[in-house]
């Protein structure tokens, strides 16, 4: 949900001013403030409820099967923008539109063919993407160096051209964002601290698995880099994250600095930024996943991916790293046998969980 979707008064006047206005001697001002405060309370209630019940914001597909809609935000931040390609329509001249369409289709096919999942909600919801999303800076709009899931759809920026390129270039970025959607309908892990880092972890895992599945990479030869296609090449940067070797994706880069991801619990980030390090501490479970996938062998989506998918369904909103370690070991034992259980436990032990 963005500010544009809220009551206009709620966006323009901060709540503390509205509360002050509600005590005004002017009846008209008082009434306006009370109406705005009531609207704000209603929005908060809807948001709190929709976080628990994401089905509130689902756009159902007409036939209950794969249904992609790609919009062009045309360099603005209002979503979704103008509809430019719907399911079954021909390619356009815009590569961002075609990438969003093709890669969201690959992600749908991955979850459907491997896990029998019918879209993000498992009930055929439409996959809505907006490309050319920009960032408002109060004077105008700048190309957005980001991609995000807003709770109902994907949004992709074109990058600044100096460090970041358009985010639709990368299948693992597109699949990462869509996996946030899958999570909203499954474990819906709270986006803070370790549960938030697990939320990011699952998006990285299925982001790269969709790419490995699409290109037929086996776990021992696979690339575990995330988002390498969206970076303008430079000797100081290889990708946005490296799941196999967290903390090494970029080093002393003039724009990016050095990769902050830890590869072991001993280096766990405990600061307040990034909602307690959701994009930082995901390095720890990411490495555990790669170690497990390499130990189990074969294509990572076939065995390790199935274990992690099942775990994603079983976790609760507040689950921590130790919970995922316990559940994945248990599922591996139940479905693949004692040797697999031992390998998964060893992978977690190696990262200090």
């Amino acid at each position: 949900m963005t500010c544009q979707h809220r009551h206009p008064i709620q966006c323009i006047i901060p709540p503390y001013i509205l509360e002050h206005m509600a005590h005004s001697a002017d009846p008209a001002l008082r009434e306006m403030a009370l109406v705005a405060l009531a609207a704000a309370a209603a929005v908060r209630a809807v948001r709190a409820f929709s976080q628990r019940m994401p089905t509130m914001r689902v756009a159902p597909s007409p036939a209950g099967r794969r249904h992609r809609l790609v919009y062009d935000a045309r360099g603005r931040d209002e979503l979704p923008g103008k509809l430019v390609r719907s399911e079954g329509e021909k390619k356009t001249a815009d590569p961002a539109v075609n990438e969003a369409y093709d890669f969201s289709g690959d992600t749908f096919d991955f979850f459907h063919s491997l896990f029998g999942r019918n879209s993000l909600d498992d009930a055929g919801m439409s996959l809505i993407s907006s490309v050319h999303v920009a960032e408002a800076d109060g004077r105008g709009y700048q190309p957005m160096s980001n991609a995000f899931w807003d709770g109902a759809q994907m949004a992709y920026g074109d990058g600044d051209g100096a460090v970041f390129r358009r985010f639709t270039r990368s299948l693992d970025v597109v699949a990462h964002e869509l996996t946030h959607g899958v999570q909203a309908f499954t474990s819906n892990l709270i986006y803070r601290g370790q549960s938030g880092a697990l939320n990011e972890h699952f998006s990285d895992v299925f982001g790269v698995l969709v790419r490995q599945w699409r290109t037929g990479e086996s776990a021992d030869k696979a690339s575990w880099l995330v988002g390498s296609e969206v970076l303008v090449p430079a000797p100081t940067r290889r990708a946005i994250r490296d799941m196999e070797h967290p903390g090494t994706a970029f080093t002393d880069d003039p724009a990016l600095g050095s990769d902050p991801q830890p590869d072991h619990m001993k280096k766990l980030y405990t600061g307040p930024s990034d909602s307690g390090g959701v994009h930082i501490n995901s390095g720890i479970p990411n490495r555990a996943f790669v170690l497990a996938a390499q130990a189990l062998g074969g294509p990572a989506w076939e065995q390790t991916g199935r274990v992690w998918y099942e775990a994603m369904l079983q976790l609760s909103r507040t689950s921590q790293f130790i919970d995922l370690a316990r559940i994945t070991a248990q599922i591996a034992g139940d479905t693949l046998g004692a040797a697999a259980k031992k390998a998964v436990k060893a992978a977690w032990k190696k990262v200090g969980v």
Binding site: I12, Y16, E135, R139, N146, L256, G257, D274, S275, I280
Partner: protein
């Protein structure tokens, strides 16, 4: 007036910081920054996040007689505060 700014999150999860001490700025720059802070209109601390994932997150502390702290994601920045956030983002490394 001192302003401390941290940007985190986004798909890349980069941490960027800057600190602006208006006493150390050239007069025209000081006037500009003070105007941006006034336009933002933040008199009390607040925190707000949307249900989005991979949004940019901002932590802003404005130290005057009292300190105001704002923590939010990019979708929750009010329009009148965007020029201030853009100014700080430009300087964050």
């Amino acid at each position: 007036m001192r302003i401390t700014f941290t940007q985190s999150g986004g798909f890349a999860g980069l941490l960027k910081h800057c600190r602006v001490d208006t006493a150390a700025l050239e007069p025209h720059e000081r006037t500009r920054v003070e105007a941006l802070v006034v336009a933002a209109g933040w008199e009390v601390s607040w925190e707000k996040f949307s249900e989005g994932r991979d949004r940019f997150q901002y932590e802003i502390a404005i130290e005057r007689e009292t300190t105001v702290r704002v923590t939010c994601d990019d979708s929750c920045v009010p329009p009148e505060a965007r020029p201030l956030v853009a100014y700080l983002k430009d300087r964050a490394r």
